[in-house]
């Protein structure tokens, strides 16, 4: 009973981590809280679904299409919308300005998706055979999503820790004001971080579309869940997002199994608010970071 509940929690947590990794990069490195993040994911959901239902291109293949597209879109949004704000140079206002700008983007994208894809609930079946794991049967597509999110999380962590590029990225995340002193092009790094976040959002969208029912209005739900994980894990901390995602998944499943399924969402928000109050920089955040 407990083992199977834990297994379910980890699977669900993998999904949450997947949702959050792109956002944590965008906020951590580019210093932009992208509230339209969920819309990026949703866009990818719709594209992948379209590829699958129209031409039979599976979502895992579709992943190869939408991930680069997500990178390009992230790059364009950063260049077109965020750079003018960054150039204003008022650090105090930058935060509010970027929030409002991405807010605007959220509504524009949502409106466009409503018109293009309609308001139907969308869902399709792919790889949903059961696989037995620790006494419970879980869907194969969820295992795939968990595996990919672990691979992305650990891979990114390794790259950020080991490579020169990763070191530059971390320098920008740690000290955006002084990173240029050591010859790092802060603006370019920020843009790459943001674009990479876009790519991860698209990848996440493609993967969750395999098992979630979504409609054009659901972007905010994705963003909110991702935000909770990002804040809990510590902004810009990929490994933290992974751990926080798993924790959140476990909490939700444990509440559903042992307390009351009616309180799962309340538990999520309560856990988040407590972490926020207790450690505003996240469970794994740097103090003062």
């Amino acid at each position: 009973m407990l083992a199977s509940t834990l297994a379910l929690g980890i699977i669900l947590g993998g999904t949450y981590a997947l949702l959050a990794m792109g956002l944590t990069l965008q906020y951590g490195i580019a210093r932009i809280l992208n509230l339209a993040y969920g819309e990026f994911m949703l866009l990818s959901c719709f594209v992948v679904t379209g590829l699958f239902t129209a031409w039979g291109i599976g979502p895992l293949l579709g992943l190869l299409v939408v991930t680069p597209a997500g990178y390009a879109l992230g790059w364009l949004v950063h260049a077109g919308m965020m750079s003018p704000l960054l150039r204003r140079g008022d650090a105090g206002r930058l935060e509010v300005d970027t929030i409002l700008a991405t807010f605007g983007l959220l509504f524009v994208l949502q409106g466009i998706m409503l018109i293009v894809f309609g308001s139907d609930f969308t869902s399709y079946s792919y790889l949903d055979q059961g696989v037995s794991l620790l006494g419970v049967t879980v869907a194969a597509n969820r295992l795939v999503a968990l595996a990919v999110s672990l691979a992305i999380g650990l891979g990114l962590y390794a790259v950020l820790m080991r490579s020169n590029w990763g070191r530059a990225m971390r320098a920008v995340a740690l000290a955006p004001q002084s990173a240029w002193l050591v010859g790092i092009d802060v603006d370019r790094m920020g843009r790459q971080g943001f674009a990479l976040g876009g790519a991860l959002a698209a990848a996440g969208g493609a993967l969750v579309s395999m098992f979630l029912t979504f409609s054009a209005a659901d972007g905010v739900v994705f963003t909110m869940k991702a935000l909770i994980v990002v804040i809990m894990g510590g902004v810009g901390n990929v490994l933290g997002a992974l751990v926080a995602g798993l924790l959140l998944g476990l909490a939700e499943v444990l509440v559903a199994a042992f307390i009351d399924p009616g309180l799962t969402l309340a538990a999520t928000y309560a856990l988040f608010l407590v972490v926020l109050l207790w450690r505003p920089t996240g469970l794994f955040g740097r103090v003062g970071g």
């Binding site: 199977s4 379910l8 609930f121 869902s123 059961g130 029912t213």
Partner: protein
Amino acid sequence: MTMTSRRALLGALPMTIALSLALPGVGAAQDVVRIGYAVAKSGPNATGAGITTIPNYQMWVAEVNAQGGLEMPDGSRRMIEVVEYDDRSNTEDLVRAIARLAEQDKVDLILPPWGTGPNLAIAPLMDKAGYPHLAVTSVTDKAPEFADRWKRSFWMLGGGHDYAEALVQTLVAAREAGQINDQVAMISVADGFGIDLVSAARPAFEAAGFTLAYDETYPLGTSDFAAIMNEVQRSGADSFVAFSYPPGSFGVTKQAQTMGYNPKVFYVGVGGAFPNFPQVAGGKAGGVMSIGGVDSASPAIQDYFQRHTDSAGSPPDSWASAVTYASLEVLEQAVQRVGLDHQALAQEIATGTFQTVVGDLKMQDNQLRDLWWVGQWQGDKFVAVNPAERQGATAPVIPKPEW
């Protein structure tokens, strides 16, 4: 110079807008019928309105206009002119839009919004302005009370009790036939609709001698049903009942398939009768029960499905869509008989009999009671199962074939 004019412009803009809002709409030409509606085109209600309400309104208007317009008692025809607003799923905006339709646009008829809450919110205003109010997509047990309070309101989709008790009836029949045991696992979404049904179902199940082996409510917005369905499977019940909304209905179906959970009765709430449900279920929807149903052998229904597919690009849902369309046919025929006078119209709708896609339709105390409460996927059709004695009902397939 430019400065002054720009400032003047900035100052004048809100003024102009306010004026254009305050002035009544341009006087309607005599040869058109102006029909207005305010429905959710954005926000949380947009999904429901986009599936059930808007496609039927658009299709009906297009069809009537293609025939030369709405027929009047004297045999003349007047084209329909539509005035539509987006209520943004916001009740305050909706109430204001209805006042605007009645007072500024002076439309001849007002079509209802989607959902129980929105219809209740506009009822006092519709009543005050005297418009007949065909509150189609409202499921409420208080319909008799409301019909009494607002004399020109019509409630056409029954109440939570009707659906819950019909389901219990169906299960009792199956139990008496020795098809299922007396254990039921039940989940419900924590929203007005889910709670209405579950609070009616609980006593009904117990009175019928069923035991609720699992009975929990989950929050609206839940996307992962693995933990819940795991408990449900463990409960050992032969019958699984979910009073759910579309994301939940889809979610539990997929989860049950993945787990290989094969209860003998598998019932989901709203969404189970959606045209894309078989696709969601991976082509294995056969045997799944849900709310509503249609008499799929009826030529009128078949024709309606075909026209809806041609007009909206997809078949209608098999619960509220046909009733919504039927309400428009009621309106059309009532206008043909008595014209556009609101009192005469309300009187005719309350007392007349109308030929519609769901059969001959007659209101009882301002309510439509001849409805299908339980349906089931059989083949590629969502057929009506309960009331079992009603003409057009199909016998349910229990136990449900394995996924």
